[in-house]
Amino acid sequence: MKKNLRDMRPVYVVGIGLHRYQRLSETSYVTLGLTAVREALADAALEWRSVESAYTGTVLIGMAASRPMLRHLGATGIPMAQVENASASGSTAFRQACIDVASGLTDVSIAVGVDKPGPFAMAPGKTRMRDLVGSRMVPFTHFALLAQEYMTRYGVSAEQIGMVAVKNHRNGANNPYAQRQKAKTLEEVMAGPAISGSLTRLQCCPIGEGAAAVIVASDDAIAQLGIDRKRAVRVIASVTKTEQIYRGAKNFDAELTRETVEDAYREAGIGPGDLDLMELHDAFTIEELLYVEAMGLCAPGKAAGAIAAGEFDIGGRCAVSASGGLLAMGHPIGPTGAGQIAEITRQLRGEAGVRQQPNARTGLAHMVGVGAVCVAHILQKQA
C-alpha cells in the first residue's frame, strides 16, 4: 500500500549549517560545502562518522561533486549521490535524506546544497523538438508576463508588486547568510534598471554561490547519540510533483504549487491557517503573490493587499520569506532549498534573533524547478 513520509518513522531536523550566499568568488565549492556541513555537525553536536548517507543538491558544479568535498571529513564509505532537480535540487536532496531515515535505511542522513555560478546546460534545449518560444523567452520574461496578466486581472499596480521586494530585502538585511543585506525602499526597488516588463533588478533574485547543509535523524539516533531533542524539528510532510496539463486558463506555476501544497497539508494534517512562516520560491516578486494565493493564504487577487497590511511580515499572521527569500538571501540554485529548511528550523527553534517570527510552531518550505517540478516540506516544532 502506498505510504507517505508521515506513515513511516518520524524524521527530525537536528543540525543546520550554511555558507553565506555571495557573488562568485575564488572560493572552491569544497570550501563552501564543508563550511556548511561543519556548521551543521556542530549544531547537532554530531561527528561525521555518525552520518550514514549523503545527498548533494547541485546543478552547476559538475559530475560527482560529493566525495571530493566530503572526503575531507573522513572517508567513511557511506552512500553518496548528487541530486539535480533545477532550482529544487536542494529541496529534493533533503527529501531523499528524509526518506532514508523515515524508511529505516539510515538513522542519520545529510542533505547538502552547494553551487557556484557557471554555464547552464538545459536539457529541454537538446530534445531536437522546437517549441513555440524556445530561448526567446528567458525566465524573467515569463514572470514579467505573469505580472502583467496579474495587474490586468486584479487591478494591482506595479508598485504593489514591488512591495514584495521591499519586505524581503528588509528581512534579508537582518540575515548574515544573505547575499543582499541592505534594506530597500519602494522608490529604490522601482527605480530600475528595468529587466523585463514591470520587473526591475531588485525584483529578480541574484544568482550567486553558497552552501547549505541539513542533518536529519530518527528517534533512535536522537536517543543513542545524545542529540538535544528540544532543538529537533519534525518533518511532518514531504511532497513533490511535476507539471500536468491545466485547463481553465490557469498558469501552470500556480497550479502546480496549489496541488503540491494541498497534498502537503493533507499529509501534515494541517491547513494554511496553521502556518506561522513560509519560505517560498520568490525568484521574482510576482511569484510570491501567485504562490501565497495558490497555497490558500489569501483569496485570488488579495495578496498585494495582505502584504501592504503587513500580514506576511515578521510578526504578521504568517511570515513569508523571513530569511529574505530568494530575492534577498539569494538563489545559488543547489543550496536554496536546503537553506530554506535551515531557516525554518532556526525559526521553529526560536533561534532567529532579530528576524524571529514570534511563537513559530509550523513552517512550510516551497521550491519550484524550471517551472515543471514543485517540492513542499512542512516542519513542526514538537511540544
Binding site: R130, L132, V133, R136, H142, T152, R247, A249, N251
Partner: protein, 68 residues
C-alpha cells in the same frame, strides 16, 4: 532558437479554446495595438531552411480579425 528573430518581438500567453494556456511567439507587437484579451489565431511563418535546404515553417499566433 532565439537568434533567428529580430528584436523587438512579442511573447504571449495564449489560452486555447480547449483550456490549456501556452506560451508562443506572436506576429503582432504590443505597440501595434495588441492587447491582453484579444482573440488570437495560429499562423505558420517561414523559418528558413534546414541543412538539407528544405523550407521550414514555425507556428506563431496572430491577432484574429472580427469573425475569425
Amino acid at each position: 532558437m532565439g537568434k533567428d528573430i529580430e528584436a523587438p518581438f512579442t511573447i504571449g500567453l495564449i489560452v486555447l479554446d480547449d483550456g490549456p494556456a501556452i506560451s508562443s511567439t506572436l506576429t503582432n507587437r504590443t505597440d501595434e495595438g495588441l492587447a491582453i484579451g484579444d482573440r488570437m489565431k495560429s499562423v505558420l511563418v517561414a523559418a528558413g531552411t534546414d541543412q538539407a535546404g528544405i523550407e521550414m515553417v514555425e507556428l506563431r499566433f496572430a491577432k484574429a480579425e472580427a469573425g475569425e
